[in-house]
């Protein structure tokens, strides 16, 4: 018996010896900081998310700051104070089967004013005795995109009285030209249809979430025209120097750097599929985003952050912030977009 007790004590000593907890955060004396997030598009209103930082591992919905004064300035002239909107809701039995309830947090400050190109803006926040601010302006349009489409085909199946499924493929040729040194760009291709991830067609329009629209998954293979790199088959672009590649979690963006008067030819092979309301045409939309160096830093650091999060092989990464007196990111971008209508009648019922 004595022997056993000694053995058990020995095992307990061994196990408890293996870790120790240190209290390194004092929640009562923790000084939270204001966090601002906003990305502005030209001729659009501005939305600003204001939250506050918390002790690590203890961030919750209380982080939203609802009583802040959010002031918008254009070229140092006061424009307006933004109005707080709260449309948060909880969705039960959400799209994600594993989550019984899902919180959708939509709390932000909104402007009435539509932002314009060729102006510089600043946002100043005052809340809970703290102040934070950030400046931004739209990048100059310096890139042109020329698009050529080639041999799109699209087959359909009629499996519902209201909707039809389609399967398409085709190739687009892009020519990107810029006059700016070291610009940052994103190219995105979208299809105006609903995703068929759920493998069944809805019966009624109300079953279709708006969020699916223009987010249909597309398998796009970008083929760089440079001899050095050859063809690739993933949703990323590789080009000759100077270049930067970036694939966000949406798998649909490509970032490139183009130096003065540089041209990059890109071939995008697409396989697209989805479902649409009967009688509606299919469009492939391409978007060229021109983003500032700061947005690029923010996006890249955010991407690295998520890649390194919980990865024992990578050192933790900080997300880039341009907010004075707090955290977060405020920036602006330009977008050029156009659509190609896909003729489905000619291909209908080929499948």
């Amino acid at each position: 018996m004595k022997k056993n007790i000694i053995l058990i004590l020995g095992v307990i000593l061994f196990i408890t010896a293996c870790h120790k907890d240190y209290k390194i955060y004092d929640k009562n004396n923790f000084k939270s900081q204001l966090v601002i997030h906003s990305l502005a598009a030209p001729d659009s209103i501005l939305r600003v998310f204001v939250t506050k930082s918390a002790v690590p591992e203890q961030l919750d919905t209380n982080c939203f700051v609802t009583n802040a004064t959010v002031s918008l300035y254009e070229d140092d002239n006061f424009i307006e104070n933004l109005v707080f909107f709260d449309t948060a809701y909880v969705e039960e039995n959400s799209y994600y089967d594993y989550m019984q309830k899902e919180k959708f947090l939509t709390k932000y400050y909104k402007s009435n004013y539509h932002l314009k190109r060729n102006h510089s803006y600043s946002i100043k926040i005052k809340a809970e005795g703290k102040e934070a601010d950030a400046n931004f302006s739209f990048p100059q349009i310096s890139a042109k995109v020329e698009v050529d489409k080639n041999g799109f085909t699209c087959d359909t199946n009629q499996n519902s009285k209201n909707f039809y499924i389609f399967f398409g493929q085709g190739t687009m040729y892009f020519k990107l030209k810029t006059t700016k040194h070291n610009g940052h760009y994103m190219l995105r291709l979208l299809c105006n249809a609903w995703d068929i991830d759920q493998n069944k067609l809805p019966e009624n329009y109300t079953d279709v979430p708006d969020s699916a629209y223009y987010k249909t998954a597309m398998n796009i293979s970008f083929i760089d025209n440079s001899e050095e790199n050859g063809a690739s088959s993933l949703n990323s672009l590789y080009a000759t120097y100077p270049f930067l590649t970036f694939k966000d979690r949406h798998s649909s963006y490509v970032f490139t750097d183009l130096s003065d008067n540089n041209t990059i030819n890109i071939t995008a092979n697409m396989n697209f599929q989805g479902y649409k309301r009967n009688g509606e045409p299919i469009y492939i939309k391409y978007q060229l985003f021109e983003i500032s160096d700061k947005i690029y830093k923010y996006y890249s650091s955010l991407d690295k952050y998520w890649d390194s999060d919980g990865n024992p092989f990578v050192e933790p990464v900080n997300v880039y912030s341009n907010v004075e007196g707090g955290f977060g990111f405020v920036g602006a971008y330009n977008v050029t977009e156009d659509s190609i209508k896909i003729d489905i009648k000619a291909n209908r019922n080929k499948r």
Partner: protein, 829 residues
């Protein structure tokens, strides 16, 4: 004309001094074994001007005036010897020294030579003492002993990482019999590859590097293997908790040819086998079905040191040395499920087999062939041919077979493997030349052919089912690379006046890779001012170049690190270091060394933020992709060291204290802001003591303290609406919906901004020896981490309810080595 005149005067003075002197040269050997002794002091007893030491092959040459001379020869642990004779011509000697304890004589403190030498920042590792110090699992480890020296920081708990004066582990030139060793770790870094039974001499240089050493920025660890006993057959067997080893050495032909073989193997896998058999293999049977599981796994390492020494003549010696070591971890699993169905009177079998084999291994191979020749009394030649290889690999293969009612339904094979490595072929020629009494010249050339395999992945599958077959065999990764390195050096140890001595030298290295060639001159200088016969001041400057980069992920202790060459994109690393210090022989027993240093390192290599050895497939698919994953920056280190040593008496040992700072700056990391290096320890203290109670029993004590190392831990957390599903226009488009929830972004303030708790532990040992009929047996008992301190190995943030039942966030520090007793047995004959 003036230059010619001056040159003539110098030449005449050399000839004059040459004419006035004769040379005593030869070798110093251990009288019992014939082993040649390195760093043994040979001096004219009555004149400090005439002093030299044996080189790494036991050779010395001393020029003395023609007269009655009294030569004193001494070496730590050996009884000194005096030779009194009239020097009338050049004389060759082989001096045999006997171990002091065998003669019961007082051991001479050889630190006198360190006071007199111009070399600073040098530590001679006390190998004999090391074997009696407390160690984890009773496994004597060279690199763990080096961690107890001033200026040397350890890595994570229990690991054998060596960080010298703010440098990284790749910046240590670790030479085993003159051959670089690329991976020094067994058992995921907890043990070093060096079997101490096979070692003769170990020297650590932290600064003031003589020109003969080059290729790394921060230190030189020069390890020499024993040559083998030339007189009689000797051996030793050690049995420890996790490994055993044996060493056997002796003459093949007495005083002519000798050998030594030393081997070691762990037996964790053998010990674990019965348990795995009991718990890993199971069979369940029901009426018509059987479910069988077979699991096996294990880990082992072994190493083998061997050396052959042959005296071709009194002037020539030939050495062949070999080291081979391997670590392997493996897990095999097999699940087999069978069902017997009887359909229409016919027995049909349905079965499913799932088998998985995973393994991980890394291995070192080192060979060297060396020829020593003394041309004349004052010229010594060493020629070496070497081969060094390190490779690392892991693989996993999965087989899934299913048979349904007698028909093969599926047959799937998936496999992935990864391999990396480096191979070197090298040739070296070194000369030691002693032209006049106050000059000791060394010069030489070396050429290395490097072959790099920076990481290749092989992915394959073969899927067969009833209707279809698909196969893939894909290899991707970085291309292999070749590089040539050539270097030459010249150094002169000059006695300018009896109180002022200098070692001036330079090294010129050339490195060629792809179509790029780098040329680098590296000046070296060190100086000694003798204040009195027991005290000297020393200064040194050294510029170093490193053409090999080491890609390492700081966060894990696996040998996934890759050696790659400098290229036109990732250029060579370089450093310069200045150091000054004082050596003081306080008494015959105590020596005190104080040193200060400042070091700058440029073009250091780190993975870019978010990058690691495991990049995405497409990036790996691009040629030489590792160059795109790394960034270069600079480092800085400075500090002071205190080293008080007691080398003789019943109580021996040392106290080492280091106060230092080291940091890194990379444009692409931490937004360009300077951050502390991962092993920046402000204070580092080691107390080492060995008390000899009597000739059979001794006690060892080691206490180490190190300030907490820096790490990156979140300071706060905030919400970012642009979560993993976010897109850029979600902020601006009022019609899109917002499908997101709280995703915390950690704010880290700076890389390595947080200090972990301090590291400290106490280890104790007791060694009891007894003479037996055929030899001496020793039982060694040890306790590692006596007061069971939780030393950080791995950390994470966790939340649980605190004292007031509110959720709190804690830093959980995991330790892998709590208090650990050990016992080992050793028999030496």
């Amino acid at each position: 004309m003036k230059k010619l005149f001056l040159g003539l005067i110098v030449l005449l003075s050399v000839i004059h001094s040459y004419a006035q002197n004769h040379t005593i040269s030869g070798y110093v050997e251990d009288a019992a074994t014939g082993e040649r002794l390195i760093g043994c002091i040979v001096k004219e007893a009555n004149n400090n001007k005439y002093v030299t030491s044996t080189n790494e092959f036991g050779f010395f040459s001393l020029k003395l005036p023609k007269k009655q001379v009294k030569i004193r020869v001494y070496y730590i642990g050996y009884a000194p010897m005096e030779l009194d004779f009239k020097l009338s011509k050049d004389t060759s000697l082989t001096i045999d020294l006997e171990l002091a304890n065998q003669l019961n004589k007082v051991v001479v403190n050889a630190e006198h030579y360190n006071i007199e030498s111009s070399q600073m920042s040098k530590i001679d590792v006390p190998l004999k003492m090391m074997k009696n110090l407390p160690v984890i699992f009773g496994e004597v480890d060279l690199l763990k002993t080096l961690q107890l020296m001033p200026g040397v920081q350890s890595g994570t708990e229990g690991s054998n990482g060596i960080y010298v004066r703010g440098g990284g582990p790749d910046q240590n030139l670790i030479l085993l019999d003159g051959v670089p060793v690329y991976n020094v770790s067994h058992l995921f870094g907890f043990f070093s590859v060096f079997n101490t039974d096979a070692l003769k001499d170990v020297t650590l240089l932290k600064g003031g590097f003589p020109a003969r050493y080059g290729g790394r920025l921060s230190s030189v660890i020069d390890i020499r293997m024993k040559d083998g006993n030339m007189k009689k057959l000797k051996g030793a067997v050690s049995i420890g908790l996790i490994s055993s080893k044996f060493t056997i050495e002796g003459p093949i032909k007495k005083n002519k040819t000798s050998f030594i073989i030393s081997a070691r193997r762990t037996y964790i896998d053998i010990l674990a086998k019965p348990f795995i058999k009991i718990f890993g293999n199971r069979t369940y049977s029901e009426e018509n079905s059987t479910d069988k599981t077979n699991n096996s796994g294990g880990y082992f390492f072994y190493d083998l040191n061997a050396k052959l020494t042959h005296k071709l003549s009194d002037k020539d010696r030939l050495f062949l040395s070999f080291y081979g070591g391997k670590d392997k971890a493996y897990i095999n699993t097999r699940d087999e499920n069978t069902d017997n169905h009887n359909l229409d009177g016919e027995d049909l079998l349905s079965s499913n087999i799932f088998a998985d084999k995973s393994n991980l291994f890394w291995a070192n191979t080192i060979t060297a062939a060396r020829w020593n020749h003394s041309f004349a009394k004052n010229l010594f030649l060493n020629t070496t041919l070497t081969y060094s290889r390190f490779n690392f690999a892991f693989g996993d293969e999965t087989l899934n077979q299913s048979i349904s009612l007698g028909d093969k339904e599926e047959d799937e094979l998936f496999g992935i493997s990864y391999g990396s490595g480096i191979k070197d072929f090298a040739a070296k020629i070194d000369f030691n030349y002693f032209p006049v009494v106050n000059h000791k010249i060394r010069f030489g050339f070396s050429s290395i052919y490097h072959y790099f395999m920076p990481g290749q992945t092989h992915f394959y599958f073969d899927i067969k089912d009833k209707n279809d077959t698909s196969k893939l065999d894909l290899r991707f990764g970085s291309d292999t690379l070749f590089a040539r390195e050539f270097s030459s050096y010249f150094e002169d140890d000059i006695v300018i006046t009896p109180w002022f001595k200098m070692n001036i030298g330079a090294r010129l290295s050339i490195f060629n890779v792809r179509d790029t060639t780098f040329v680098s001159p590296e000046p070296r200088i060190s100086a000694r001012i003798l204040l009195n016969k027991n005290m000297s001041l020393k200064f040194s400057y050294a510029k170093m170049k490193q053409y090999l980069h080491f890609l390492t992920n700081n966060t894990v202790g696996l040998p996934l690190d890759i050696w790659v060459p400098a290229t036109n994109i990732v250029v060579p690393e370089d450093s310069w270091q200045v150091a000054s210090g004082m050596s003081w022989l306080i008494s015959d027993k105590f020596t005190l060394t104080l040193e200060g240093f400042y070091k700058e390192m440029n073009n250091l290599v780190e993975y870019k933020e978010g990058e690691s050895i495991f990049g995405n497939v497409m990036q790996q698919g691009k040629s030489n992709s590792w160059e795109q994953k790394v960034t270069q920056g600079r480092g800085q280190a400075y500090g002071g060291e205190f080293f008080l040593k007691k080398a003789s008496g019943k109580l021996t040992g040392w106290i080492a204290y280091t106060l230092s700072w080291t940091n890194r700056t990379f444009a692409g990391i931490n937004f360009g802001k300077t951050f502390p290096y991962k092993y920046d320890r402000r204070h580092d203290i080691s107390v080492v003591a060995l008390y000899k109670l009597n000739k059979n029993i001794n006690f060892g004590l080691t206490w180490v303290y190190g300030s907490g190392t820096p790490t990156t831990i979140a300071k706060s957390q905030y919400f970012d609406p642009l979560d993993e599903n976010g897109s850029i226009e979600m902020y601006a488009n009022d019609n899109s919906s917002y499908d997101y929830w709280i995703n915390g972004i950690n704010y880290y303030q700076n890389r390595n901004a947080f200090r972990l708790p301090a590291y400290h532990r106490l280890d104790l040992s007791m060694n009891i020896s007894k003479k037996r009929k055929h030899g001496t047996r020793t039982w060694s008992f040890g306790i590692y981490n006596v007061y069971n301190h939780i030393n950080p190995f791995y950390t994470e943030l966790i939340t649980h309810n605190g004292a007031n039942n509110k959720t709190q966030t804690f830093l959980r520090v995991y330790s892998i080595f709590p208090i650990m007793p050990s016992v080992s047995y050793r028999f030496v004959w």
